[in-house]
């Protein structure tokens, strides 16, 4: 079926409008990062800087330990993501495939665990981690992020596992494959989009998390990126807008790279034609 030219034009316009809507904040952020303090204080702000000024970038990089913060956030986010996937994959498989009376209870608990506000659990958590010498350490924060992201990751992955046709596993079983072999060779490749989506969610959660990091990390060498960005805000609502915008641009780069790398692999339709109805 051919699309009419008029319809095609409208489609492109809609996509363009959507791109502008999504892209404008980033354009504004980059533009702001290149403005001088005088331009920031102008009563008629312009979209593009009148004079490109890179001093915000030098300030951001020199003043607050931004590079170290980036490194710490990257380390914590990657470790958390790997751990969550390692734990969530077998558990979500078991929840999706094995019928038992415990399943609705488990799923209910997973949901309930998501409604607790962070502020409610942070002090007990701190009390648990302290005797274990895990406060003020990267592994401590990784464990917390893993526990925090796991329920939702399980919830997500369960759906993906359920979407894998059982017939494929049965066929593998008929061919003599063990359950582990079936999971590794049959289920995991088909779950790749789900694993990537879950990885993205976990990575973002860890990358953006502020409060746990604030409470658990006191050593300046261990501060994560959100903590570093918070230092550009002073008392009485004073904000160093230029350096903050520059730092935010630099903070966006690793996650953009991460997503550019992963989204190409986030393909669905792997299952089409796998099973004839």
């Amino acid at each position: 079926m051919r699309t009419r030219p008029g319809t095609r034009v409208l489609q492109y316009l809609a996509v363009l409008a959507y791109l502008i809507f999504l892209g404008f904040p980033l354009v504004w952020l980059i533009s702001s990062s290149l403005k001088s303090p005088q331009e920031f204080a102008s009563i008629n702000p312009s979209i593009l800087p009148k004079h490109v000024d890179f001093s915000n970038y030098t300030d951001a990089l020199n003043e607050q330990g931004l590079v170290r913060g980036l490194g710490n956030s990257l380390q914590i986010s990657i470790y958390s993501t790997i751990l969550v996937l390692i734990v969530a994959l077998p558990v979500s498989y078991a929840l999706a495939r094995f019928r038992s009376r415990l399943r609705p209870l488990t799923n209910g608990w997973i949901l309930v665990s998501q409604v607790f506000p962070v502020i409610l659990i942070v002090i007990p958590l701190f009390m648990i981690l302290r005797p274990l010498h895990l406060t003020n350490t990267i592994p401590g924060v990784v464990i917390v992020y893993m526990v925090w992201s796991l329920p939702f990751a399980l919830w997500m992955l369960q759906g993906y596992v359920a979407a894998v046709p059982r017939e494929l596993e049965e066929a593998a079983s008929v061919d003599g494959a063990s359950r582990v072999r079936t999971i590794v060779s049959i289920v995991m490749p088909l779950l790749r989009p789900g694993l990537i989506a879950t990885a993205m969610f976990t990575f973002i959660s860890a990358w953006n998390e502020f409060f746990f990091a604030l409470v658990l990390l006191q050593d300046p060498q261990l501060k994560t990126l959100p903590l570093v960005l918070a230092r550009f805000v002073g008392a009485e609502g004073q904000v160093q807008f230029g350096p903050l915008a520059a730092a935010s641009v630099l903070a966006t780069v690793p996650s953009l790279v991460f997503f550019a790398f992963l989204q190409r692999r986030l393909t669905s339709g792997l299952l089409s034609g796998a099973v004839k109805g």
Binding site: I43, Q64, I123, M127, A230
Partner: protein
């Protein structure tokens, strides 16, 4: 399979890391004697580049002179310090030296989290700060924080517009009547006399309310009663009159923050603004080079008094090195040190010695003379002893004042809301 093995190896490395990762807390025998070598964590909230540099220099000078009491500078943030301290006090991991402000530490004092510094601070330090300011950090004769820097509310003026209107502001003070008259004079041709960022009006109204002896509260802690009468309503009444009777305040500015009104101030949209004196730092950084401005004398009603909410340096009650921490705080309070950090943040030091040092260093230029003068009458306000004040401020006073300043209610309704609201939140 290879990938799974790589992932497992990563987990193995993480577990190894966890095993190695020790807490960086100072190990200590808990004796806290002054002869042992200790390292103290000082979490500073210094924000401006110049202040951060000045604070680091103080730490470096101290470390050079005190090999047995080393201080480690840790950068904190005003935005999150309260939540961070709440958790750290609970877990016993608060920094050895805590930078905060008196309004925030009042709750911590009541909960017993802070150490009494009075046995350790020198007489020189105690004498250098006025009683009214000590009161903001004291309870039952004990001192729970050393007050370092304060802000006051000042009137900043566009010098060119003042000159054009033939206004000169001299003398020791500027009365509220004069402020209204000047604002009226400056209001013409689409320009307003005054821009006033009152998005969060409560702190401004309660602080400047002391100009008219406004108390707002009688008593302390949970037993405090709200007393809302004419003196307490004088400041909102005058602001309202300027905005809606004289039409000399830009009504839009009343919905903005103090920083939001600055672009309009630079552009000549208003002849004056009222703000915390620290905005002078921002003006110097970002105003057009040709922009001429000045700080007017302190505002006066029946007096020039304003509430003091100084920044503070405190020590946790469970700290292992209270004496050594207090020694560093005592050093920080020296005139030259306070002057250096005060000048960087454009805030008023709590000691006369430091104020004199800034006066000498700046020659009183860029509004410093009037700014320093506005610090002379800062003292403790009744609301600073009231436990549920933050709740009343957020839930009752701010919305009620916003409504009144938006001309949606009258003065009597405002008074009733402020008074009745206290009964609701103080249960």
């Amino acid at each position: 399979m290879k990938k799974a093995l790589t992932a497992l190896a990563a987990v193995g490395a993480l577990v190894a890391l966890a095993a190695c990762g020790g807490n960086s807390d100072n190990s200590s025998d808990g004796s806290g004697s002054s002869t042992e070598k200790v390292t103290l964590k000082f979490q500073s909230l210094a924000f401006q580049k110049t202040t951060v540099a000045a604070t680091k220099k103080i730490v470096a000078d101290w470390n050079a002179a005190n090999p047995n009491i080393q201080v480690e500078y840790v950068q904190g943030s005003w935005d999150s310090v309260h939540d961070q301290l709440v958790t750290q006090f609970q877990g016993g991991t608060a920094p050895d030296i805590i930078h905060d402000e008196s309004a925030d530490i009042t709750g911590f004092i009541n909960q017993g989290y802070l150490a009494d510094l009075s046995p350790y601070l020198s007489q020189e330090t105690k004498d250098a700060v006025s009683k009214g300011v000590w009161d903001t950090v004291s309870n039952d004769g004990k001192i729970y924080g050393a007050p370092t820097l304060m802000q006051s509310y000042v009137v900043l003026a566009n010098s060119a517009m003042f000159k054009q209107a033939g206004i000169t502001a001299t003398g020791d003070s500027l009365t509220w009547d004069d402020l209204a008259a000047d604002a009226k004079k400056l209001t013409a041709a689409g320009k307003y006399g005054l821009g006033w960022g009152l998005k969060s009006p409560t702190a401004t109204v309660l602080n400047l309310g002391m100009n008219f002896d406004g108390k707002f509260f009688d008593g302390t802690g949970k037993d405090a009663k709200a007393t809302i009468g004419d003196p307490e309503l004088e400041v909102p009444k005058r602001i309202h009159a300027m905005a809606y009777d004289d039409k000399s305040i830009d009504p839009t500015s009343l919905t903005q923050s103090a920083s939001d009104v600055l672009p309009g101030f630079y552009a000549g949209k208003y002849g004056m603004i009222v703000a915390g004196n620290y905005v002078a730092q921002q003006i110097l950084e970002e105003a057009p080079k040709t922009f001429q401005w000045e700080v007017l004398p302190p505002l006066k009603g029946t007096s020039t008094q304003q509430a003091a909410n100084p920044q503070t340096l405190s020590v946790p009650a469970e700290g292992k090195h209270i004496e050594q921490s207090a020694k560093f705080i005592d050093y920080f309070m020296k005139a030259d040190n306070l002057a250096a950090v005060g000048q960087g943040d454009w805030l008023i030091p709590t000691t006369q010695g430091a104020r004199d040092a800034i006066q000498k260093a700046t020659g009183g230029k860029n509004g410093w003379e009037q700014t320093l003068a506005s610090g002379n009458d800062l003292t403790k306000a009744p609301f600073q002893s009231v436990e549920n004040y933050p709740k009343w401020k957020d839930q009752i006073a701010t919305p009620a004042l916003q409504e009144y300043l938006a001309n949606k209610t009258d003065l009597a309704a405002l008074g009733k809301k402020l008074s009745d609201g206290w009964g609701q939140v103080n249960q």
